[in-house]
C-alpha cells in the first residue's frame, strides 16, 4: 500500500504515480466468475472470433476497477475516492501491458478535493479507457 499523498503535492498538473497491469487469462476468468459476467468474449476464444475479435477481451469494468486503484493507491489510507467517470474507447486483448495514468487537473485546497484526468493506456499509446476522478485528500 502506497503512503499517503502529501496535500502540498496535490497541485494542478501533478502526475499520479502510474501502475502497470497485464491482465492474463486467469484475471479474466476469475473476474468473470466473481461478477458472474458470462459474456463469452472474455473466456472463449472460438466464440470471440465469431464476434470478429482475434483474442479474448479484457472486461470494460475491470479497467474501471483498475482506475479506481490508481486513485486510491495515490491517495493512501487518509484519502477517499469520491466519484469516478469513464468511457471505454477500444477493446483490449488479453496479455497486453496496460499503464494506468492520471494527472491532477483542478484542486480545491480548502475542501481538500482534487479532480484528476485518468486513463488506461496500451503499449501502442492508444488509450482504451479515459475518464475523470474526484478525490478527497488529507
Amino acid at each position: 500500500m502506497a503512503s499517503n499523498v502529501i496535500p502540498a503535492d496535490v497541485v494542478e498538473g501533478a502526475d499520479l504515480p502510474p501502475i502497470v497491469r497485464t491482465p492474463e487469462v486467469i484475471d479474466l476468468v476469475l473476474f468473470s466468475g466473481v461478477l458472474w459476467a458470462t459474456h463469452k468474449i472474455h473466456y472463449d476464444l472460438d466464440y470471440s472470433r465469431e464476434e470478429g475479435y482475434d483474442h479474448i477481451l479484457v472486461h470494460a469494468p475491470l479497467q474501471g476497477a483498475y482506475l479506481s486503484q490508481l486513485v486510491t493507491e495515490w491517495l493512501g489510507s487518509r484519502g477517499k475516492l469520491v466519484a469516478l467517470r469513464y468511457r471505454n474507447k477500444v477493446t483490449v486483448p488479453v496479455n497486453i501491458e496496460l499503464t494506468l495514468g492520471g494527472r491532477v487537473v483542478a484542486v480545491d485546497q480548502e475542501a481538500g478535493e482534487a479532480t484528476c484526468e485518468v486513463w488506461v493506456q496500451k503499449a501502442d499509446g492508444d488509450r482504451s479507457c479515459v475518464g475523470e476522478a474526484v478525490a478527497r485528500f488529507g
Binding site: 466473481v34 469494468p61 474501471g64 486510491t72 469516478l84 469513464y86
Partner: protein
C-alpha cells in the same frame, strides 16, 4: 424519418425494476479484491481492515459491479444465450438496433460496504436521447442504479449509459 426513440420507448424513462437484495460476504469481497489485483489489504484481510477502523473487510470502490452484473445474471447455465449472456441482463426499451456498447460509466462512492451488509440495488431508466453517429443512428439509454445498505444508508450511485446502434444500411 421516424425518430429512433418512439414515444412508447421514451415512456420507459422513470420506470423501475424490482429492487434486488445482495448479501455481502467476506469471501465475496476477497474474491473481488484478488480478481482485480487489489493491493490494499483492507479489502481482503479482516485484521488489516479492523486496524484501519472498519468492522470487517471493506469493499473496494468498484465492488458494486458484482451486484450490477451478478444480480441479473445469476441463473442456471442452461438459461444463457449463445453469446453467453443471460436473458434479462440487458433489457432495453423497444428500439430497433443491431448492436449495443457501453458509453459512459459514472459512479458516486458514498458510505462503505462492509462484510455482513445486505445491500439493496434499485435500477431505473434515467434518460434517453438519440443522435447521428459515424456508423449509424445511435440511441443512448442511461440507467441509474442506487445501492443502499440495511440501515438505508446510500453506499453507491451508478449511472451507466448504453448506446444502441442502428447500422447505416438499415
Amino acid at each position: 424519418m421516424e425518430p429512433l426513440i418512439s414515444d412508447e420507448a421514451r415512456s420507459w424513462v422513470g420506470s423501475e425494476w424490482e429492487p434486488r437484495e445482495y448479501t455481502v460476504t467476506r469471501e465475496d469481497l476477497q474474491k473481488y479484491a484478488f480478481s482485480t489485483r487489489e493491493a490494499n489489504p483492507i479489502h481482503y484481510d479482516p485484521e488489516a481492515a479492523r486496524r484501519a477502523g472498519y468492522r470487517d473487510v471493506v469493499a473496494a470502490p468498484c465492488y458494486y459491479q458484482v451486484m450490477r452484473i451478478g444480480l441479473y445474471n445469476l441463473l442456471p447455465l442452461d438459461a444463457y444465450r449463445e453469446d453467453g449472456m443471460a436473458p434479462g441482463y440487458d433489457e432495453f426499451p423497444p428500439i430497433e438496433f443491431d448492436r449495443v456498447l457501453g458509453a459512459e460509466t459514472e459512479v458516486e462512492f458514498h458510505d462503505d460496504i462492509v462484510a455482513g451488509d445486505v445491500v439493496t440495488m434499485r435500477r431505473r431508466v434515467a434518460d434517453m436521447w438519440e443522435k447521428e453517429g459515424r456508423s449509424g443512428r445511435l440511441a443512448f439509454v442511461k440507467f441509474e442504479y442506487t445501492f443502499t445498505n440495511q440501515d438505508d444508508a446510500l453506499v453507491r450511485v451508478l449511472r451507466f449509459t448504453r448506446v444502441l446502434i442502428q447500422e447505416r444500411s438499415k
